[in-house]
Every structure is written in structure tokens, then in C-alpha cells.
Amino acid sequence: MAFLQCARAWLLCAVALAAQTKEAQQQGDLETAARELQNAIQLNPADAEAHGRLGMVYRRLGRLTEAIGLLERSVRLEENARVKVLLAFTYIDAGRRREAIPLLAASWDAESKPSLQAAVGQRLIECYLETGQPEQALAVAQKLRQMAPQDPDVLYLASKVYMNLWNGAFQQMLSQDPGSHQVRLILAEGLEAQDRFAEAANEYRQILKTQPKLPGIHYQLGRMILRSDASAGADEKALAEFRQELEHSPLNVGALAEIGEIHLRRSQLEAAAREFSRAVELQPGYVPARVGMAKVRIAQKQWSQALEQLEPAAQAAPAEEAVAYNLMIAYRALGRAADAKRAFDTFQRLKQQNQQKRSAVLKGLAPP
């Protein structure tokens, strides 16, 4: 009916048709909208907007091949960035991600509206990952994280990108030399992340069989022994590993600090101080050694000497709870009430922040 009326004055009717189409679309009557738009295109085959709208309607109706045809024609008739994005999204729906990428990439670079750019960026990451281009996805993910650092969708995609890259690199490493020490290192680190310390220790031992002087391995083995070995001699075994580490890598401040901690647990305060002091000498910004040294001085009631370690540590690591806590203890003992209160407030703030983060993680991972 509308077509017959419009045949007489197509220009006027095109406007009316567009209004009717919009109304139909808004009401969800997609079939009616499609008919009206087909009529409009018949009246004016060069109407880019009608092609675009009909493409959109077909997409919503699941008629993807026809939608793509219409959207492509719309773009050919008239350059329109939004229609290009719609075309890209429809390509994705149809599984034609490679064709979507150039359109999305162009929109990603040119789009000025942040919400639309974020939506485009997220689809672009998916396309890159699906087409085996994780490096390109990484660049988009990093920019998206800058734009929306708290957005859970962005963080999810970023995690997928990193995991994809990790998997890719690991697979390649595995295929080149499955028995390499690098593969074992990755395995050991994964086991440690799952609290499977004894198994992680075994991986480090395997590495040492072929690479006894590889830097860092004795150190890691010592750490795993301390976490897994319940025998009375565990400290001794760990100590031996840390010492071996230092024979090959005398600058390993982590090993020095671990030895210091073992001495501290044994109440060998001066021996602990020597190790921590050497670590601080090598790396003045190495906070665990400064905290260890401060704990020795606090145990000796040498409050001012403890502060000599803690104040620079607080500058190097203002978010370190152990530093703020021991600062509070040392200031308190020296009668510096205002400083102690300030350190106490800092410590409480850090504690609260970290607790909120942990709670959020636990809540997220908890069973339903």
C-alpha cells in the first residue's frame, strides 16, 4: 500500500518510508521494517542509508549473507564509519574475522567516541586472537587497559591475550626442546603458583643435573625446600642451596636475604645482620634485606639503627606493609608518638587496601 502511494512522488515518500521504517524497527517489527526498506531501495537504488538500515535489519533477523551484501553496497555508495563498523561486526557474526579486521582497525584508530572505540577495540582483540595474531591484540589490549583500567571486560580480554601469548611462546619452546631447562623452569614456576612446592623443587633439581651453575636455580631450590620440606634439617638443606647459589652468583641479593632470614629464625642475630648488610650494600633499594636488617636491630632494641634501614625502605617501597609496620614499632619505642601514629595510619591503610583486593579475588573465585 505504501509502495503504491509512493510510486507517484518517490522523494516525499522516501522520507515517509524512512519514518515508518524507524517506527517499525523501534517496535521490533523487523519484517515490516525490511519490507519498507526494500521499497525504499527500489525507489532509490543509490540510497546508502536505506542499504545500511536494511543490512542492519537483516543482521538482526539472522540473514547474515544478505546483510553483508547490503552493508557492503552501502559503504560503496557512501563512506560511513559507523556502517563500516556494523559491517565488521556482521563479518564477525558470519565468522569472517579476517575481513572484519581492516574495518575495525581503521575505526579503532579514527573513532573519537570512547565507548564506541572501546567496543571496537574489544572486538578487534577477539579477531586478532582468533586469527592467530596475539601480538597485534596485545597492542590493542594495552591501550584499552589505559582507557578503562577497571573495566572487567577489558581485563578479561587482556588476560586472554596474555595467556594466549604465554601459551604460544611455551608451545614453541616445548616443540623446539621439550627437555630444556627453560621448559623445566616454566613448569617449576607453575607448580609453585599452585603451592606444589615439593614438585617444583624436583624440577629445579632436574635442571641442576644438567646445568649445575645456572644462575638462580640453587636459590629457587632453596626457597622451595623451605616451603616443602618438613624435616628437621630443612633449614640446613636450604642454606646449602643458597650458599651454592652465591658461589656462582655472588650478587644474588635474594639468596643473601634468605640466609639472613634463616639466621634470624635461629636467633643468630649478628650472622643475620652480616647477610642483610651485604645485600643492602649490593642493592641499596632491595627492601627485603632492609626489613630483615631492621628486624635484627629491633630484636636487639637498637631502634635508631632500625630506622636507618626502614626510612630509606619506605621511600623505595611506600606500599610495603612490613616497612610501615616496623617503622611504627621503632618510632613507638623511641617515643616519637606523631611519627608512630603516621606509620600506624599508613600501615592500616595498606592493610585495608590489600585486604580488599584479596577479598575481591576470593569472592570472584568462590564456588557459587
Binding site: Q194, D195, R196, F197, A198, E199, R227, S228, D229, A230, S231, A234, D235, L264, R265, R266, S267, L269, V291, K295, I298, A299, Q300, E321, A322, A324, Y325, N326, M328, I329, R332, A333, A340, F344, F347, Q348, K351, V361, L362, L365, A366, P367
Partner: protein, 567 residues
């Protein structure tokens, strides 16, 4: 000349310190439990696996003289099982036969009760001269009034202590926080736990341990707040948790409770060891309210400012500086906490410097400061046991049953681990929980009763042999509460002063002997015993002979024992 003498004396002291302890003076214990007829096993959930966290905690122990015969009796808390309860598992009261054996008096005393029992504390809440009992449960705490005829009456509801909802009562202690002569009651709560909503083992990140699927929590479960009940007289209590400020500390996992006057102001403070969260120190404001100051006071966290998994707690002046220090047991991988009181109720964690950092392999529960060798310096005993039986066989060395750790105090400067020399009673692994300290055979040497999960209890009898002397001081309040809980005693021998307080609760969910024990070293006489009663009255007893048990009544003086009759 004087300088030379001083050097010689320092050298002599150094030589003495370096000299190994003669074998016959070493701390030694034997486990008398089978011979003493303490043979009933404690039931507490699954023995191979534990589905829920409620199967992992309890079992307090108490040394108390319920029949006033001057000999310590024993009370042991029992648990239950899932899915069906264990009706035969009941708490047990054992009467001391005064010959090294005990007789099960549970039934006659009316104390048969099954359920998920946790802790126990004692105190004469109605001041009738008979020690009453409070037992905490997951599922409703219970107050027992001692009738004085060998039987107890359950008076929870009549006393106003019946809970309005399901809670998990854990540690407890009677204390007279307002010093009105009536014992009030503090109860810690652990986790807001309901079987209907409890997650299944392995179902989340807080349900795995060393790669094993284990029961979930306490992390990931909702924490709790603690309770304070004011004794209104006539045998009734009123919940004052809100108005006193006690319940302001929320979302903690409360376990061991310890009371003591930590800032020497004459008013009892309250310390709560919390699992996985900061421990709490409630300072008594002397007006019926408390302020929680644990973090600033330095006794909430470890030396790195991290929350440990606090379990058991004990107070004692281990360095004899006149201020009560705190010992707290923690989970494995966490050193025991030794909070040294630096004066005015502030603390530093002195565990690392004092030699308590070495043992990190065990999960610690009951603990106590006790002068086992009567040398005048408080030693320490920690009983251990893991929470996950699933560990047995999974990884070498990480068993459910674990040895105890015994530390000898070296002149208040450090603790020496003497477990290996103390005998199989210490080194044999067990899944220990509650531990109560007291002298059950009145021989002047402190013993320990331990509640072991899935096993019979241990009765550690001290076999330390030396010529050191001792005294046991029993107090009776008159204006103060009859149990004299909160009374502080200073024991002066020569220039050495020791302090201790009568205390309800403590250790892990347990009750120690109310009588205060002081080791006197070579001193055969105490120059001065000074008692500061909760009422504020101060009483002095002079020139007491060593190696005896004395009783002092508030206001009247010495009731029994040999001391200078002059007031």
C-alpha cells in the same frame, strides 16, 4: 681489684651459662594417661578426611578442683561426627583419686553431653565456693553450675546465656572486668558457619592445601565478633558486647582467649588470638568499656606486619621485668609469636631473637608458660597437630599427628628447644589441641593434660629432677570474686621478683590450675608474697617456707601453709 673481681664473676657466669645442663636436671615428662585411666578417645569428625572446618578445631582441657579436695580433677571436651552425630561421644569429668589415677565422674556429675564441643573455662560465677564450668560449642554454649555435691546443673538459659542464633563459640574466660566482685564472661566466636551453606572440599581457592582438596576456610567464610556478658548477680548475665565496645571488632576468626592486666593498671584486659586475621587486644578503659588496640600495641601481627593464624595463647612474665608477656601459637610456616611487653602494655614480637623462630613445621594449639624445672624462669610448652588428616602419606614429613615442642627459658634472654631430650611424651606425634597446665599430684612440679584429636588424652607428668624449690599459692576472694580470678601475685625471693595472675581460660580452649606456681631455684624461703586482689586490696604475706601449698583468703591472710604469722 674490684674490676678484677667483676671480670671473674662475669667469667664464672659465662662458664655457668655455657655448661650443659646435667642429664638429671633436664626437663623430662612421661605420659601417664593409660596408667591414670584416661583412655577414652576424643571424637572429632573424620579421621582420614575432614569435610568441614568444624571438624578441625576443638577439644579443650581443664585442670580444676571441682570437689574442693585440694587435688586437681580433669575435664575434657569432646566432639562429634558427620553425617550422623556420635551420641556416645560426651565430654568427660575425671575425679582425681590422689594416687596418680582418675575415675570417670561424668555421669554422676551430670556432665554427659554430646555435640561439637570446643572450649572450656572455669570460675565460681555465683561465689558459692564451688567452681563452675562454661563449655563452648558450635551449636550453643553451656553453663554448668557446680552444686557442691559432686553434680552440676545446666543453667544456660536461666543465666541468660542461651544464644538466639547458631554461633560457633570457641575460646572463653571468666573475668571480673568491672571489679564488682562478680565474674563476667567473655566468649570468642570463630566462623559464621552453617552446614546448609558450607562449601565442599576442593571447591574454591580456600579449599586447597599443598595441592590437596581439603575442607574450606576460614578464609572465604564469614568472620565473627566476640561476646561479653556482665554478671548481674543472682546467677544471671546480660549481653554487653555492644555497649562495652567488644563487638566493634567484627569479621575476625576468634580462637584462644587470654585475660590479664597487660598495662599494670589493676584492670583486666582481654587478648584474642584470631585465625588468619589480626589478633585483638581489648584494653580495659576502667568504665565498663574496652578499646581495641592490638595493632598499635604490637601484638596483632607478626614481625613483618602479617596476620598469623593464631590458635592458643598464654601470659607470663618470661623475662621477669614485671610486665606480662604473651605467647601465641600459629599455623605451620609461621613462627610462634612471643610478644614481649615493653612496658605500658605495648609489645614487640621477640620470637625471632628469643629462639622461637626455628620451629615452623608444626601447627600449634595449646601452649603455656610454666616453670617446669622450678628455676624461677618460665619455660614454654607448645602442643601441635595439623588440621588436615589428608596430609598423611601425601607428602613426607607433613603428618596430621605432630610432636610437641618444649622450650627451656635461659635466664629470660632466649628459649632453648629441649624437646629431643624430654622423652617420648614430648616427641611422640599426636593431633593435640587443648592443653591445661597444673600440678595434679601436688609434688611441686607442673604437669600438663592434653586433649588429642582421635586419640586418648595425654597426661604429661613432670619427671624433671633437681634440687630447686617451689610454692603453690591458692587464693580465695571475699570482696573479690571467690575464685580470685584477676588477682596478681608478686613473689619476691632475694632480689628476684616474679609475677603471675589467677586466670580463667587461656592456652587453647583450656583451663589451667587456678593455683599459682612459682619456681624458686635454690631459695628455701619466699621473702614476700604480695597479692593485689581484684577488689583493689593489697595483702602481704612474708617469710613463707618453700615447697608447700599455701592458701590465702582475702582480708584474713594465710588460711593454710607455713609463713611468718605477722601480717
Amino acid at each position: 681489684m674490684i674490676r678484677a673481681a667483676a671480670i671473674l664473676s662475669v667469667l664464672a657466669l659465662a662458664a655457668a651459662a655455657l655448661r650443659p645442663t646435667p642429664a638429671d636436671e633436664q626437663l623430662r615428662f612421661v605420659d601417664l594417661s593409660p596408667a591414670a585411666r584416661l583412655t577414652v578417645k576424643t571424637v572429632f569428625g573424620g579421621e582420614k578426611t575432614k569435610r568441614y572446618i568444624v571438624e578441625t578445631t576443638g577439644g579443650g582441657a581443664a585442670f580444676l578442683d571441682f570437689d574442693n579436695d585440694g587435688w586437681l580433677d580433669i575435664f575434657l571436651v569432646n566432639g562429634s561426627r558427620f553425617p550422623a552425630p556420635a551420641p556416645a561421644a560426651t565430654n568427660h569429668l575425671y575425679r582425681n583419686n590422689r594416687d596418680g589415677t582418675f575415675q570417670d565422674a561424668t555421669s554422676r556429675a551430670g556432665l554427659e553431653r554430646s555435640g561439637w564441643g570446643q572450649g572450656v573455662c572455669a570460675g565460681d560465677f555465683d561465689n558459692d565456693g564451688h567452681t563452675d564450668l562454661f563449655v563452648t560449642y558450635w551449636g550453643g554454649n553451656v553453663l554448668y553450675r557446680n552444686n557442691g555435691n559432686g553434680a552440676f546443673a545446666e543453667v544456660t538459659e536461666a543465666a541468660g546465656l542461651k544464644a538466639s542464633r547458631l554461633r560457633w563459640g570457641s575460646g572463653c574466660a571468666f573475668l571480673d572486668y568491672d571489679r564488682d566482685g562478680l565474674l563476667d564472661l567473655f566468649v570468642s566466636n570463630y566462623v559464621d558457619f552453617d552446614l546448609k551453606t558450607a562449601p565442599q572440599p576442593g571447591s574454591g581457592p580456600t579449599c586447597r592445601y599443598r595441592g590437596l582438596a581439603v575442607n574450606c576456610g576460614p578464609r572465604g567464610l564469614k568472620g565473627e565478633s566476640n561476646l561479653l556478658f556482665h554478671n548481674q548477680g543472682r546467677g544471671t548475665f546480660r549481653d554487653v558486647s555492644e555497649q562495652s565496645g567488644i563487638s566493634s571488632a567484627r569479621d575476625h576468626y576468634g580462637l584462644g582467649v587470654l585475660t590479664g592486666d597487660f598495662n599494670n593498671d589493676g584492670w583486666p584486659d582481654i587478648y584474642v588470638a584470631n585465625d588468619k586475621t589480626a589478633s585483638l587486644l581489648f584494653r580495659n578503659q576502667r568504665d565498663g568499656t574496652f578499646e581495641e588496640i592490638g595493632v598499635f600495641a604490637g601484638c596483632a601481627y607478626d614481625a613483618d606486619g602479617k596476620a598469623a593464624s593464631g590458635m592458643g595463647v598464654a601470659a607470663g612474665d618470661f623475662d621477669r621485668d614485671g610486665w606480662l608477656d604473651i605467647l601465641k601459637t600459629n599455623f605451620s610456616d609461621e613462627p610462634t609469636s612471643l610478644y614481649r611487653n615493653t612496658g605500658d602494655g605495648l609489645f614487640i614480637d621477640a620470637a625471632l631473637g628469643a629462639g622461637l623462630g626455628r620451629n615452623r613445621r608444626w601447627v600449634g594449639w595449646g601452649c603455656g608458660f610454666a616453670d617446669f624445672d622450678n628455676d624461677g624462669w618460665l619455660d614454654a610448652l607448645i602442643v601441635n597437630g595439623h588440621v588436615f588428616p589428608e596430609l598423611d602419606g601425601a607428602e613426607p614429613g607433613w603428618g596430621f599427628r605432630q610432636p610437641k615442642v618444649l622450650y627451656r627459658n635461659i635466664r629470660g634472654e632466649r628459649f632453648e628447644d629441649v624437646s629431643a631430650q624430654a622423652g617420648p611424651a614430648i616427641t611422640t606425634p599426636a593431633a593435640s589441641r587443648g592443653a591445661a597446665f597444673g600440678d595434679f599430684d601436688n609434688d611441686g612440679r607442673l604437669d600438663v593434660v592434653i586433649n588429642n584429636m582421635h586419640d586418648a588424652p595425654s597426661l604429661l607428668h613432670s619427671r624433671t629432677r633437681n634440687r630447686n624449690h617451689w610454692i603453690l599459692v591458692r587464693l580465695e576472694g571475699v570482696r573479690s570474686n571467690r575464685s580470685a580470678i584477676g588477682a596478681r601475685v608478686s613473689c619476691l625471693t632475694g632480689k628476684f621478683r616474679q609475677i603471675d595472675e589467677v586466670r580463667s581460660g587461656g592456652s587453647f580452649f583450656s583451663q589451667n590450675d587456678f593455683r599459682l606456681h612459682f619456681g624458686l631455684g635454690e631459695a628455701r624461703r619466699i621473702d614476700l608474697l604480695e597479692i593485689r586482689w581484684p577488689s583493689g586490696a593489697v595483702q602481704q604475706i612474708r617469710a613463707c617456707a618453700a615447697d608447700q601449698i599455701i592458701t590465702v583468703r582475702e582480708g584474713s591472710g594465710l588460711v593454710s601453709g607455713k609463713c611468718d604469722p605477722a601480717p
